[in-house]
Every structure is written in structure tokens, then in C-alpha cells.
Point group: C2
Chain length 205, copies 2
């Protein structure tokens, strides 16, 4: 039985390696722009071998999303009784690290349009679950007066947009480390929401 476990572990590792390679390719060239050979060649395999680990190309895309979303959802489960700004700041930092460190920066930025309705529904469900969690934190801050009275949905989109966009420009060779980015982003985005001395400014026009 020892051997069976080792084997299982090994194929599990290979599945993850395929996911990393696929996610990197999808991110660079898009789902439809990536061929199975693109994915396999980077791992010194032939494309045929991929079908031993995944049913088809779509299953790989689904697994990428599912894997990433699980990591993203994990950022919700934190801090039992912290302030809204603390919770938001920690969430943002955790998210930045997930985006950059896991699957090499893919996460929510990939197409899911290519998925069939059934698989798509499962991904959307998870994404919605995360959206609700993020909005709840912002809502909490608005209610407690910590944050300004913003449209919670829009504010949430703005925060997530800024973070998700990272995968479009981040390069591991760049000067910024994931840690730098995480700190700067949480500073910036939490300040965006905080009720400052600036009055909810009466706007021109």
C-alpha cells in the first residue's frame, strides 16, 4: 500500500504541474489561443499524455478556476472579530499573494466563457460566494461608520478589479515583490473606503 500512495501522490503532483503550465499559457495567450501541445511541451510531454490526467481541455480550464477559487475563498475565513478595515486589509493582502503565488497569477482573470453551462455554473457559484463575502466586509464597515457610504457593489468591483488586474502586468523579474504589492494595495484600497476628513464632497455640476 505504501507504493500505491506514492504513486497517487506522484500523479497528483503531475496534475498540478499541468495546471500551472496551463494557467500560465492561458494567461498569456487565452484559452482558445493555447493548444494542448503548448501545455504539454512546456512539461516535456506529448499532448496525448495530458488525456491520461484530464478528460479534455475544458476540464483543465475548469480545474484551474476551481483550484484558484478555493484559494481565494480561503481568504474569507479569517479574523473572528476584527474591524472592517483590518479584515479588508488582510483580505486584500491575502488575495494579492494568491494571485501572484498560486498558479502564477491566474485566478479570476481567465475566460470562463469557454466552459460549458454545467461547469460554468459551478464556477460562478463559487465566485458569487466570494463576492458576497467581500461585500459583507465592506457593508460592515459602512454600517459601523468606518467606511464612507459607498455603493457596496461598485466598491467591491473596484477593489477586486485593481487586484485582479495584477495578473496582467506582474512579472516575477520585476522590481516589486508580492509583499510590496500586497502592502501598497491594501493601504491604497482601504484608504479609498475609509471615512476621512474629506467630506463626502459636494461635487461640481
Amino acid at each position: 500500500m505504501q507504493a500505491a500512495e506514492r504513486r497517487q501522490k506522484k500523479t497528483e503532483l503531475k496534475r498540478e504541474a499541468i495546471l500551472r503550465s496551463a494557467a500560465a499559457a492561458f494567461r498569456r495567450k487565452g484559452y482558445h489561443g493555447t493548444s494542448m501541445e503548448d501545455i504539454s511541451e512546456a512539461l516535456l510531454m506529448t499532448k496525448g499524455s495530458l488525456y491520461y490526467y484530464f478528460q479534455d481541455k475544458e476540464a483543465i480550464l475548469f480545474a484551474c478556476h476551481d483550484f484558484s477559487l478555493d484559494k481565494v475563498l480561503a481568504t474569507l475565513k479569517q479574523d473572528p472579530e476584527a474591524s472592517a478595515s483590518q479584515r479588508l486589509a488582510r483580505m486584500i493582502e491575502a488575495l494579492v499573494h494568491v494571485i501572484i503565488d498560486e498558479l502564477g497569477g491566474s485566478a479570476l482573470a481567465l475566460d470562463f466563457t469557454a466552459l460549458s453551462p454545467e461547469l460554468l455554473a459551478r464556477i460562478i457559484a463559487k465566485r458569487d460566494q466570494f463576492d458576497r463575502g467581500m461585500r459583507a466586509v465592506i457593508q460592515q464597515g459602512v454600517k459601523s461608520g468606518e467606511f464612507r457610504k459607498v455603493d457596496v457593489k461598485l466598491a467591491s468591483f473596484a477593489v477586486l478589479g485593481a487586484i485582479n488586474w495584477i495578473s496582467k502586468w506582474f512579472r516575477p523579474e520585476g522590481e516589486q515583490t508580492a509583499h510590496d504589492i500586497a502592502r501598497t494595495y491594501s493601504d491604497l484600497l482601504v484608504s479609498a473606503l475609509k471615512a476621512g476628513e474629506l467630506p463626502a464632497a459636494p461635487r461640481r455640476k
Copy 2:
């Protein structure tokens, strides 16, 4: 000559219609995921006709980017002597309108990876020009003390990310108008940068 002008105008309009259809399709299914027939069918044409207006599929993608980037660059040319926060706010609002109103929300969110090196270089040049403009505004605010001492590059990415992400979730049927979004986003993002009473907080760890 009257007739020649009318004809010319008509083909110009058709070119733009093709671009709008193409941009919508690219945004939904990605560049490689959309076929020439996808683009033409939405306009009640056959794919063959598209080649009368554009050399090939790549030319359409290039035109989408080029068209959008020209609109985006136009947002730089404003306010001769305004404060950094005013300039940034107006830029953000203009950008949101461009993203939503022009080409139905495509802009910088499309793949450019599919472009050949020559065309890619031209797009990147324009995008860089815009990046410099946006960074200059933020830099101005930091220098004048209006904004906090942030990493200008990161702050610029955060602002642009939030805005560009709009094309991923915006639906014309939704409750938010372009105007609502523009106002909320400029409020949020300018506040993110403003030097508030919150001290450049000494951070845990």
C-alpha cells in the same frame, strides 16, 4: 464627387460597425475564440465580406486597440492648470465613459498577445504613452503633497486595474449607469491617493 463622399462615409461607418461587433465578440469569447463568422453574422453579413474592409483578422484586432487607445489618450489632454486631484478625477471619469461607451466596453482589456510584433509594438507605444501621462498626474500630486507618498507605478496600476476591470462585469441592462460608475470610481480612487489625516500608518510587522 458628392456620391463618392457618401460612399466613403458609408464604408467608414461599416468599418466601425465591424469593429463594434468584433470588440463585443472578442470581449466575450477572446480573440482566438471568436471566428470571422461570429463577427460577420451579428451584422447579417458573410465572413467573406469582412475581407473587403480589413486585410485579415489581426487587422481587426489592431483597429480595435488603436481606436480605443486614441479615445483613451484623448483623456490626457485636459485641464491646463488644475490640481492633481482634479485632473485625476476628470481623467478617471473620462476613462470610465470611454470604457463603457466606446466599442461597448473593450479598450485595454483585450488580448494583444495575438498581434504580430510590428503591430504589437505600435499598440504598446500608445499604451506606454498613456501610462506615462497617468503617472505624471499622480507624480504631480505626490510632489505637491496633495497625494500620499506612494509608489507611483503601483498606484497607477491599481487605478487602471479598477477601471479596466469594468469591462468584465458591466452590463448595459444593469442598474448602474456609466455616469454613476464614473462618479463613484473617481471618488474612491482619488481618496485612495489623497493625503488624509490617517498617518502613513505604521504597519504591523
